[in-house]
Point group: C2
Chain length 332, copies 2
């Protein structure tokens, strides 16, 4: 929750003048999103009764500028293929990505809806449907981007945190090293790949009641196993705040996903492993962020140990059936 | 810039259901405001084409619940008397102030406009006009509230910071003690009083271009010398980021104020002293906030020494003429 870059009126007016959106009548920093600076921008086209809403995003250092054409191109591609997500707005010169206050910046369409603080099983089901549709819509997107949050990235994060991981929990470095070794030796090879969101936590999914109204924040999107995206959602949506596993939510997520995009036998079998990998991934980034937290930062680091608990759960399940989906329903 | 209270969907829906505003379609935490939690709330009344905008405010611990009827009543009174400011929205039961997540909360009307990061002289002039109109509109408001940021408050803040003030600047405690003693001995007695905003910094004033579109954040409003409010604006608007005094902006502010509400001779003469008092007031609160800054807090403390520089400037002026307004134009 932070605004990292203050945009002066003059800079904002000059920026907005490059678009056919009308006069800027409001621009408020949004307290959500930890990676970029987001403003809710309101413009009043000539003759319009009320203002139009947009999101103005300034990309801060954590997003590599070289990746932006992939992210923005993906959002345009998905939106053109029926997925409700922010769409980059083009200026009169046809350009969507430009500079503001020395940073890459875009205006994207505004999505109604709110992210669920406590997702319901019905919302988990709606997420499953939307995720599968997104995977299908992404199939013919022509650009690609490697997942830098895969093994190499995990290894780098673990190395960077190893010496001080014990400050968070004694023995944590050893646990993580062991898990990483196990996953490297056992990670599946031939699962269907495609464009994945890779960070579809509840704060990136908007709902109007139980109806999913849109997906946002594609800034970790990359090419990887499609079922890994599902495993990320499982970790992000199907555990309660006390750490307990919710089988009803998991079943709803997986079942509704598989109704749209059936899992093959290898994907179904790999679910526990993919869930372990995804738990490890978020554990490692949260651990790193916690150990390297800037006291002056406006963002509170999230608790890495929430994902240690999830990892331990997935280590002990006795097969993919533990997630509430049987092989027939999965399509496997 | 902070959201202190996360509102769950269920709580938000139940809260909004008490109003005739339509369905909630968006609710985003705003990264501005250091005292309260503010959400930009969008609702869609039945049959409407686009959403309506409101601000949902949850009052955090720094606002005393007992003061809320004064603040909200003042906003209603000013709005009813032609001042553009947020107006509390009443529920179907007629009530504006209720509880949300265990905190006092209101929905207020949304104001278009943006606060100026670098105010222009023209904007300072527009502020002068608006401030004078606000003082006149407030004259027949029937409630009153003492200024707890006056001498007693200053003394308490100074006592609380005295021992550690030297950490910020050696000798600071002595400087402040001396100034407080001087001000107590010389503070004016019989200036016109009324309801003042008491915190009209640029982030509390919205503009559309050079046109002032509204005043917000009345949570320091109280009864005090009207000219003291003007002195607060002088400190808040008429110094550049490098600390230098801008006589053009000051003249615009004072002159446009006096065109609407002429200053009497005593007010005019008291300007340097009122400016010193107002500089001391913000110096003391910033000093306290800096010394007592919670490392975990999401708000960066502001620099108290900016106001020491202003204080020193006002200590050395050779009379009210230094602010660019002559006695005739002041109306004195």
């Amino acid at each position: 929750m932070a605004v990292y870059t203050d945009v002066s009126d003059e800079e904002l007016q000059a920026f907005a003048a490059q678009y056919d959106l009308g006069a800027v009548v409001s621009c408020k920093g949004i307290a959500e999103g930890v990676e970029n600076t987001n403003y809710l921008l309101q413009t009043l086209p000539e003759g319009a009764e009320g203002p139009d809403n947009y999101i103005l995003t300034l990309y801060e250092k954590r997003v590599r500028p070289a990746d932006l054409p992939f992210f923005l191109g993906l959002m345009e591609h998905l939106a053109a293929n029926g997925i409700s997500c922010p769409t980059p707005i083009h200026g009169r010169d046809g350009v969507a990505l430009r500079q503001l206050c020395g940073k890459p910046a875009v205006i994207v369409s505004f999505l109604s809806g709110m992210w669920p603080k406590r997702p319901t099983a019905q919302q988990c089901g709606a997420l499953g449907t939307a995720l599968a549709k997104m995977h299908i819509a992404g199939a013919d997107f022509e650009m690609s981007r490697a997942n830098n949050m895969a093994f190499d990235g995990w290894q780098i994060l673990l190395d960077a945190s190893r010496e001080r991981a014990g400050e968070i929990l004694p023995g944590l470095a050893e646990t993580l090293t062991e898990e990483l070794t196990y996953l490297e030796a056992n990670w599946p090879q031939d699962l269907p790949t495609g464009v994945i969101h890779a960070d579809l936590f509840p704060d990136n999914v908007f709902f109007l009641g139980d109806n999913l109204s849109g997906l946002i924040d594609f800034y970790f999107a990359c090419n990887d196993f499609l079922a890994y995206d599902l495993a990320i959602c499982l970790n992000a949506w199907c555990f309660e705040s006390d750490g307990s596993f919710n089988i009803t939510k998991t079943r709803a997520l997986l079942r509704r996903y598989a109704e749209v995009r059936p899992l093959n036998a290898a994907e179904f079998a790999a679910l526990p492993l993919l869930a372990r990998g995804s738990a490890l991934r978020f554990l490692l980034t949260r651990l790193y962020d916690k150990l390297n937290h800037d006291e002056e930062a406006l963002v509170r680091p999230k608790d890495p140990l929430e994902f240690l608990a999830r990892l331990r759960f997935h280590q002990t399940v006795d097969g993919p059936g533990a997630y509430g989906l049987d092989e027939t329903l999965a399509g496997a």
